[in-house]
């Protein structure tokens, strides 16, 4: 019987949380989400989340930035308005390449960084003035909350999470 009920198990230490996550996974409880006040190292691996692909996205954005920078420089400095700067006339891209490297680099980084942040926001459905989703305000301070779907015996699950070191275990009806 599937319900909309979830268990909120609250911890006050990230090490205890990590052990609890491992124990819950071993006991085949379905962890829906974990809310933490700071990033906990290795939590994604312990939860069994798929590895992030943001690095690949970032690399591709960097390549886009490099391409944009190269075309921009080529158009501005070579094609449209060639200038002789410091005795180095702009007749061909490759001759002036050393002078372009800082801009190529900066735009690569600019594109990679900004587009990566935007991707991250879109992917985590974050935007300005968005209502906070965390169910307990203490997760923004010093507590860690694990949300687990209830299946089977509710009493057993509550006592299981109490045993994992949770300071508080609640059963919530989710709508």
């Amino acid at each position: 019987m599937s319900t909309n009920k979830v268990i909120h198990a609250i911890y006050n230490d990230d090490d205890i949380l990590m052990d609890a996550v491992k124990a819950s996974r071993a006991a085949h409880h379905h962890i829906e989400e974990i809310y933490t006040p700071f990033p906990v190292h290795g939590l994604d691996k312990a939860m069994g989340l798929a590895p992030t692909r943001i690095a690949i996205a970032s690399f591709l954005y960097g390549v886009v930035g490099l391409t944009v920078a190269a075309n921009l420089l080529n158009y501005m400095m070579i094609v449209d308005w060639p200038q002789d700067i410091g005795g180095k006339p702009s007749f061909a891209f490759y001759q002036n390449m050393p002078a372009f490297v800082p801009i190529l680099f900066e735009l690569t980084v600019f594109f990679a960084a900004h587009l990566m942040v935007i991707t991250f926001y879109l992917r985590s459905k974050l935007w300005p003035f968005k209502q906070a989703e965390n169910p307990d305000v203490r997760t923004t301070d010093d507590h860690f909350l694990m949300e687990v779907a209830v299946s089977g015996n509710e009493e057993d699950m509550v006592s299981f999470f109490k045993n994992t070191g949770a300071v508080e275990v609640k059963v919530i009806d989710k709508h």
């Binding site: 290795g42 690399f59 200038q83 005795g87 006339p89 061909a92």
Partner: protein, 502 residues
């Protein structure tokens, strides 16, 4: 405890023996007279098409561009004007304007110089030819010395790079690395023999056994001498043999003292009941790092930059440091992986290797940043006394000069950018071999253009010198590793290091 396997020991001895034979061969076959040089040049001319052949009969060889650059200023001004004039008819000029970069500029000056000389100095041609032969003779006589010097300083600085990395781990109280401390201490054992050999080489240069350092030559500071060089004379207060050797002795002694005491404390900490030795090492590491960064900078001017005594670069110390720092970290990774493959270092896991590989990646990029910063500013400003450094390298050392950038930047960045690759032994080893070879070539490019000029060649002398020091390095390092347990068991951070995972 680690035992030095006989196989590896034999390998080290074979390398040293081969190296010594090759070094001796290099010195014995170096030309003695200008007649020998004439023969060599004639032979290389018959090869045809080789770049040395082209310059062999020229009155002024490429390396003398060095001295000629002074009067290139005059040629340069009208040239850039011509370009400004032509700037509005871009398309038509494009064909022959492919000479904006530094090298071609000097090349043209070269032709100018030749043309001028051909007109006016025809009578002096014979005398000039003799002078050129003598110049080439000196370069060829320098070659085995320079080969020895490059290999010697390269291995010395590798152990130095490891010592600095080690000191940084102490000063930063790093929790991930204590399981690697004994490996680092083993590698820095090479510092003492390396320093002694290197210092002997410097003394021999100071005794005029070779011409590696042009500023040591007879009469350069004497206004009456025909060798007089006003620029070097102006630097003589700093660049003179006694002060040079005193500096080298102080720097090497300071580094060796730190190495000796930090190793002693690190071993004493194993059996200690409190953390007093740990605290001592922490303080000493911080002091050493401050001493090191000042002395390393001066040492890089002395031992590397001063072979080009007219030239200077303000970030040179950092550039040299980045080069041997990344080589040192790569060496730590190699020795660690070797010991691991033999079943030692049970607590070293892939996360430790991952961290070392991250440093290999990061410092490679840092090296490139410094290399390019130095290159671009000089290329752009095009001041003759600065740009001559890159003119010689791009004209005569094109392949090692640009090949090195590929090996030290492009390949490491492409191979090591992937997170998972940094944990794979074979990937780290492959990237490491490229990095170490690339940085040897980097040092080669720093020393050779000023000492052997366009007569460079990676032949018996160079490879033998490398083999000899490589053999000695293996012998010293792995002997030192047998002297103590491979785990710094009482280090207060050792538990964190054992359980380090990322």
């Amino acid at each position: 405890m680690y035992t030095f396997s006989n196989k590896l020991k034999t390998f080290a001895f074979v390398l040293m023996a081969l190296g010594l034979l090759g070094i001796a061969y290099g010195f014995l076959t170096a030309p003695k007279t200008t007649q020998d040089v004439e023969k060599i040049l004639a032979e290389s001319h018959h090869d045809g098409g080789h770049h040395t052949a082209a310059t062999a009969h020229e009155v002024a060889p490429a390396t003398e561009a060095h001295h000629e650059v002074a009067d290139t200023v005059a040629h340069e001004a009208p040239k850039s004007e011509a370009h400004t004039v032509a700037a509005d008819s871009v398309k038509t000029v494009e064909a022959d304007s492919t000479k904006a970069v530094v090298a071609p500029v000097a090349e043209e000056n070269h032709h100018d110089a030749h043309a001028a000389k051909a007109d006016t100095h025809e009578a002096d041609a014979h005398k000039e030819h003799e002078k050129h032969l003598e110049h080439v003779l000196h370069q060829l006589q320098n070659k085995p010395w320079a080969a020895l010097y490059v290999a010697c300083i390269f291995f010395l600085l590798i152990s130095m790079g490891v010592l600095v990395f080690y000191a940084i781990q102490w000063a930063a109280q790093a929790g991930w690395s204590p399981v690697l401390f004994r490996v680092m201490e083993g590698i820095t054992a090479y510092l003492l023999p390396g320093s002694i050999i290197f210092f002997v080489l410097l003394v021999l240069s100071g005794m005029h056994m070779n011409h590696l350092f042009a500023w040591m030559a007879e009469g350069v500071t004497d206004p009456k001498s025909e060798n007089y060089d006003a620029i070097i004379a102006g630097k003589a207060g700093f660049l003179n043999v006694p002060f040079f050797l005193i500096r080298a002795a102080v720097f090497l002694a300071g580094w060796n003292l730190y190495r000796y005491f930090s190793r002693k404390n690190s071993l004493a900490q194993d059996d200690a009941t409190d953390d007093s030795f740990y605290k001592k090492n922490f303080k000493m590491a911080a002091g050493f790092l401050a001493f090191f960064i000042v002395t390393e900078s001066i040492a890089s001017w002395d031992w590397v930059m001063s072979v080009d005594p007219h030239w200077y670069s303000t970030l040179f110390g950092w550039y040299v440091f980045a080069s041997f720092f990344v080589s040192g970290i790569t060496t730590i990774a190699f020795v660690t992986l070797y010991l691991k493959s033999k079943g030692y270092l049970e607590y070293v896991n892939t996360s430790h290797i991952h961290d070392l590989a991250k440093f290999m990646f990061g410092i490679s990029v840092f090296w490139t940043y410094l290399w390019f910063s130095q290159f671009m500013l000089m290329w752009y400003s095009n001041i003759p006394e600065e740009v001559t450094y890159f003119v010689t390298r791009i004209e005569d050392f094109k392949l090692p000069f640009f090949g090195m950038v590929v090996m030290n930047f492009v390949l490491p960045i492409l191979i090591l950018i992937n997170t998972d690759f940094k944990r794979l032994t074979w990937v780290v080893v492959m990237a490491g071999i490229i990095i170490l070879t690339g940085h040897y070539i980097d040092f080669f490019n720093m020393i050779m253009p000023a000492t052997v000029g366009d007569q460079w060649f990676i032949g018996v002398s160079e490879i033998s010198a490398l083999l000899f020091f490589f053999g000695l390095f293996i012998f010293v390092v792995f002997t030192a590793l047998t002297k103590s347990p491979l785990l710094a068991k009482r280090n207060p951070l050792i538990e964190e290091s054992k359980h380090f995972h990322y």
